[in-house]
Amino acid sequence: MKNNLLFRGIHKALASIVPVAVITAAVFPVNAKDSLPRCLYISSYHSGYAWSDGVEEGVLSVLKAKCDVRQLDMDTKRKRSKADIQSAVKESIELIESFRPDVVITSDDNAAKYLIVPHYMNSAIPFVFSGINWTVEEYGFPVSNVTGIVEVAPIEPMLREAIKVSGGLNGVYLGADTLTEQKNYDRIKSGAARMGSNLGKKLVADAQGWKEAFDQANAEADYIVMGSNSGIEGWDDDAMAMYVSESAKVISVTNHRWMMPVTALGYTKIPQEHGEWAAQAALEIIAGTSPLDIPVVTNRKWDIWINQGVIDATGTSLSSRYTRRAKKFASNSDD
């Protein structure tokens, strides 16, 4: 009888103590992040933008559980005014000062152009950039506190295939009327030139303009290089895909995975590669490696896609070797 009472007493005590302990642990958890290094990820653009989402995915997949990550989207693709950009820069600086990160990771050009270059060149805060298009010469990278990965596109194989399939050297670059697209056009145009091809451009502001430019390109050129639709007002993937399937006449190529609904062949970059590289470099820097000892590199991974619908619309036939090796695009395919 005594043992039963004792057991009941202990049981009651445990029954009252355990929930309290659990609740206490839940309300006042030990902050594991306090012991982790702090990493700040600043995106030039915004969540929802396919490229940025890919980079972010790569960053977070590496830093997960290794770093206390905080993210800031500068949203400069949608808010392009100078004031908006400066506001985003100011917010970024304030966050850097308040968060005091061990390393800052940036993605795409605007962060490098408006944040790193004017405010943090050779500063004590290490920066790892990613997604800077084609070259870093204009920013003066690398410097003592800055390293990163440059975004390049596999333009040579893409142009080589476009010329080969179309059988002509006259091409048109179709994209949004943005700084990035202009840079892309310039880079690809140089590449085309090295192959003896002439590449014109049609940079548009809205979907209708894009359709019109598309139709003109089909009429004028042997092949179309599809730039990014980012910044084109009124873009609707399904509608544009429908339009392209009905009106495409020449082969089209692109370096952007998200442009495959309206493109026949894709030589696409992989945004996660940028995010992963930048995150790995950040961890190296946190581990003690000087940013200068980590060379600035370009991305190396790319993939081949075919959109059979668009190809069929143009009446083009591809070699079986090519079609066997290329990934088949479908509207619901993930990669």
Partner: protein, 909 residues
């Protein structure tokens, strides 16, 4: 009991058993360990072979990689960094030992700038040649003729990218490896350089050459070399693979030991007893031999030990079970031996008992044959046991053909058949020499159903019966005379009283007490006395009827029970017997004694209920006969004066005894007056007298009291009581009277005078009470003084020595001798009252008193006249010059306590 304490095992057995058990247990453990170790070794060997095979496979894989890289480089112009990445990702993902694959280009110093531009196009910005410090930091490589610069590495990541631009020629070991690889056109393995960022153990260099075909000679290969591939290898996973191996991998410049990378496992036990498994191989990678040594730890695992412990426990358990069986067996044997010993002991005890006892014991078989007989039995039937054994009981035991044992054997045989015990008393056993009276007891042995024989016990009861009769005779007879003793006499008397009261029978009892028997004893000795008693016995027997019971009741006292005759006839029988004594003489030597006797006769009739009454009556009758002057026969008749007196004395006896114990006596005093010539009297003395309170409070006269006390020897005690109490009173009175203290006379009986301890008693009481002994006078009778003059003189001398006076009491009443008087130192003569009480009328008594007075004057004694009952007597005494007078005329006796009151009154007057 002793056997039960006998140990089950001797010390030697315990020692050997312990050794055997220990050996068995240890052997079980050892062989278990051997077996387990063999199993472990086999398993280890199997694993080690697999491990070695795995290592060889890895080496082969590396060789394959080497071959494929070199081949890919040669056969395709498109195998650049992109393709290398894809190839390496697959490789690293598949082969654990390959951490990365890199490409170095053999560059002329002059081509560095153009090469840097090319690298920029390839996506490596600011390409420059560098060298690595030990800590991984870089510094410019400096100018050289040729450089072997790292241009690509896969997997490509920021850490690996740090190697881009590293000049291998800055590290001698790498330079040597590259040179060796080119010289022999083989892959060369070298140690992992310090400062390199990867986690690897070694570098495998695979040279490539310009052109599609490999140059044949070393020199041409040196000339055509355009770089090569290096593979970062890690063998650490081998060192982490198995817990059971202590592994070493010997690589160029380094030996990898398992202990540096992985726990070598828990230490094993008994390493000195069990060696581990060891294997060694030396595979070749390219041009480099590596070594792999696989060795498991010495000893056995704890699991083996546990297994061995279990076996040891099982062995111990088996040993204990075996011991338990042995113990049980031993204990069972021991118990059996003990039981047998105990049984044998019991048997020996039984046999010894049977042989020791005086009873004859015969064990009979069911058919009546003797199977055992003890020595007493042999003696009883006067045959040896060997002869008796097997003999039928009827033939063996000769029983009288007549008497109680006539059919004894038949009854025993019948009892044997029926299985019931039989007891036969006082059987006469006939032997060659005599007839022996025996008691027989036969007890059959009862088996399951039938009788299994029985035991016959025969006891010789002849001596026992004779002894019993002798004891009975001794208990009832006088050993000297052969007459019945008092015990038997009283038993018979009781029967007679019973017959008288219940059946009206008439009997008589007669006490016979010899006169002067003491004289015979004193003068002729006790043997003569005994002879006299025997002669008296014969005399009495010859004059008694055969039906009467004659008994010796005491020393010279006989009793006769006269049975069944009327009172007169009984009295006549007693009278005739008494008369025969008148002519009975006893001759002892030259002296002849006329032996007479006093007879006390009591007729037994319904008047007596108790034996004690009759005995008391006979006693009284006998005393009465003695009082009559001896040689008398006194017939007790209830109611006669003499008898009543005797009975009164007898009745007063218990009262006397009670009075002594409870102080039921009272002291009186009677004044003794000095007879003065002028006709006056002056009380100067008091005689202390004794009274006894009766049950009703009345005082018993001293005559009866003293008579009884003297008869039953109580006077000494009474005198002492008087002395004690008188001394106490006198001591109290002397305080009151002081110088006028009168004198007190205390009477001493003849028994006290003869008491040799009286002097001591008086001395002690004087000491206790501090009484003035010069105020005390002791009165003794002349009879008492004459009975033992020597003792009397001693007492008188003592009394005088303490200042006391002595008076000779009742002078003239006894057998007074004036000759004795001359020698007696007495102070007073108390003239017996029988002379005084009629002095005024009897001239004879007057003359006698005159004579006594003259003698007293001559002997310087004073005289005291008793019984002075009137003035006439007193006057006569005064005329005769008697000194003191005592009697009722002077004063009646009164309680001594009144003396105090008188003193107070006199004092007041």
């Amino acid at each position: 009991m002793k056997n039960s304490q006998e140990p089950l095992f001797s010390k030697k057995e315990c020692f050997i058993g312990g050794i055997v058990v220990a050996f068995f247990v240890v052997a079980a453990g050892y062989f278990s360990l051997l077996r387990e170790h063999a199993i472990e070794q086999a398993q280890t060997k199997k694993e080690a072979q697999g491990y070695i095979q795995n290592f060889n496979d890895t080496i082969n894989e590396v060789a394959g990689v080497r071959a494929s890289l070199a081949t890919l480089y040669r056969v395709t112009n498109e195998f650049g960094s992109d393709e290398l990445d894809l190839y390496t990702e697959e490789l690293v993902g598949t082969l654990d030992s390959i951490k990365s694959v890199g490409r170095y280009d053999h560059i002329k110093s002059a081509d560095i700038d153009s090469f840097a531009s090319l690298m920029t196009e390839r996506g490596i910005y600011q390409f420059e040649l560098k060298a690595l410090n030990i800590d991984g930091s870089t510094y410019p490589a400096g100018a050289r003729e040729y450089h072997d610069a790292v241009v690509s590495i896969s997997p490509f990541n920021p850490r690996a990218a740090r190697l881009i631009g590293v000049d291998l020629t800055r590290e001698q070991s790498l330079t040597d490896a590259v040179s060796e690889a080119v010289e022999f056109d083989k892959a060369v393995l070298t140690g992992y350089p310090p400062g390199w960022p990867q986690v690897a153990d070694s570098l495998l260099f695979i040279p490539t050459y310009a052109g599609r075909y490999i140059p044949k000679t070393a020199d041409s290969r040196a000339m055509q070399q355009d770089g090569g591939y290096f593979v970062e290898l890690s063998f650490q996973r081998f060192l982490r693979q198995s817990n059971i191996f202590t592994t070493e991998i010997r690589l160029p410049g380094a030996t990898l030991k398992r202990s540096a990378f992985a726990d070598v496992g828990e230490p094993r036990v008994l390493p000195g007893l069990f060696s581990g498994y060891k294997a060694e191989i030396h595979p070749v990678i390219g041009n480099t031999e590596v070594g792999l040594t696989v060795r498991s730890q010495d000893g056995v695992s704890k699991a083996c030990l546990l297994h061995a412990a279990l076996w040891m426990f099982a062995a111990l358990l088996l040993s204990l079970i075996a011991i338990a069986f042995i113990v049980r067996d031993r204990r069972s044997n021991l118990h059996r031996r003990n039981a047998q010993k105990s049984l044998e002991q019991e048997r020996q005890i039984a046999l010894t008992t049977l042989e020791a006892i005086n009873d004859s014991v015969f064990t009979l078989s069911p058919d009546g044959e003797i199977s055992y007989v003890n020595p007493a039995g042999e003696t009883m039937v006067q045959q040896d046991a060997d002869e008796l054994r097997g003999m039928n009981v009827k033939a063996a035991i000769p029983v009288a053909l007549s008497g109680a044992g006539k059919n004894a054997i038949d009854e025993i045989e019948s009892s044997l058949e029926e299985g019931c015990p039989t007891v036969l008393k006082e059987i006469e056993l006939l032997t060659d020499n005599a007839v022996t009276q025996v008691d027989c007891a036969f007890t059959p042995f009862i088996g399951n159903e039938d009788t299994d024989g029985g035991v016959l016990v025969m006891r010789d009861v002849g001596q026992e019966r004779a002894l019993t009769k002798k004891l009975e005779h001794l208990a009832t007879h006088d050993s000297l005379t052969g007459l019945f003793n008092r015990y038997y006499f009283e038993l018979e008397l009781e029967e007679m009283v019973k017959g008288a009261t219940e059946r009206g029978e008439i009997h008589a009892v007669c006490y016979i007490d010899l006169d002067q028997f003491k004289i015979v004893n004193d003068t002729c000795g006790h043997q003569a006395g005994d002879k006299l008693l025997v002669q008296i016995t014969n005399h009495l027997k010859s004059n008694c009827r055969s039906t009467d019971v004659l008994a010796r009741l005491g020393g010279d006292e006989f009793g006769l029970l006269i049975k069944n005759c009327d009172e007169k006839e009984c009295e006549a029988i007693a009278q005739r017997l008494h008369e025969t004594f008148q002519s009975f003489y006893f001759v002892s030597g030259e002296r002849t004694f006329a032996i007479r006797a006093c007879f006390g006769f009591v007729a037994i009739n319904r008047a007596y209920d108790h034996v004690s009454d009759i005995l008391a009556a006979a006693d009284i009758a006998c005393y009465s006969a003695k009082d009559r002057g001896r040689n008398e026969m006194f017939v007790f008749r209830p109611g006669c004066e003499e008898t009543t007196q005797r009975q009164g004395e007898l009745n007063i006896l218990p009262k006397l005894q009670n009075a002594l114990s409870v102080n039921n006596f009272v002291l009186f005093v009677q004044p003794i007056a000095e007879i003065l010539p002028n006709g006056t009297n002056d009380v100067a003395k008091y005689e202390i007298l004794l009274r006894m309170r009766d049950d009703d409070g009345s005082l018993i006269t001293p005559y009866c009291l003293i008579k009884a006390a003297e008869r039953y020897d109580l006077m000494k005690e009474i005198d002492r009581w008087v002395i004690k109490q008188a001394f106490r009173y006198i001591a109290e009175l002397q305080v009151l009277y002081g110088d006028q203290m009168p004198m007190f006379s205390i009477n001493l009986s003849g028994q006290s005078v003869m008491d040799q301890d009286l002097i001591g008693y008086i001395r002690s009481k004087v000491s206790e009470t501090n009484v003035q002994t010069n105020r005390i006078c002791f009165e003794i009778t002349e009879t008492a003084a004459m009975s033992d003059m020597t003792q009397a003189l001693e007492l008188l001398e003592f009394l005088h020595s303490v200042g006391s006076k002595v008076a000779l009491d009742d002078f003239g009443a006894g057998e007074c001798s004036f000759g004795y008087l001359k020698n007696l130192p007495v102070d007073y003569l108390k003239i017996d009252g029988q002379f005084v009480k009629d002095i005024d009328t009897c001239q004879v008594h007057k003359e006698m008193i005159i004579f006594v007075q003259k003698v007293a004057n001559l002997l310087d004694m004073q005289t005291v006249a008793e019984f002075v009952e009137n003035e006439s007597i007193l006057n006569c005494l005064r005329e005769l010059d008697i000194d003191y007078a005592q009697g009722y005329h002077i004063s009646k006796p009164f309680n001594i306590t009144e003396l105090k009151e008188q003193f107070v009154i006199q004092k007041a007057a």
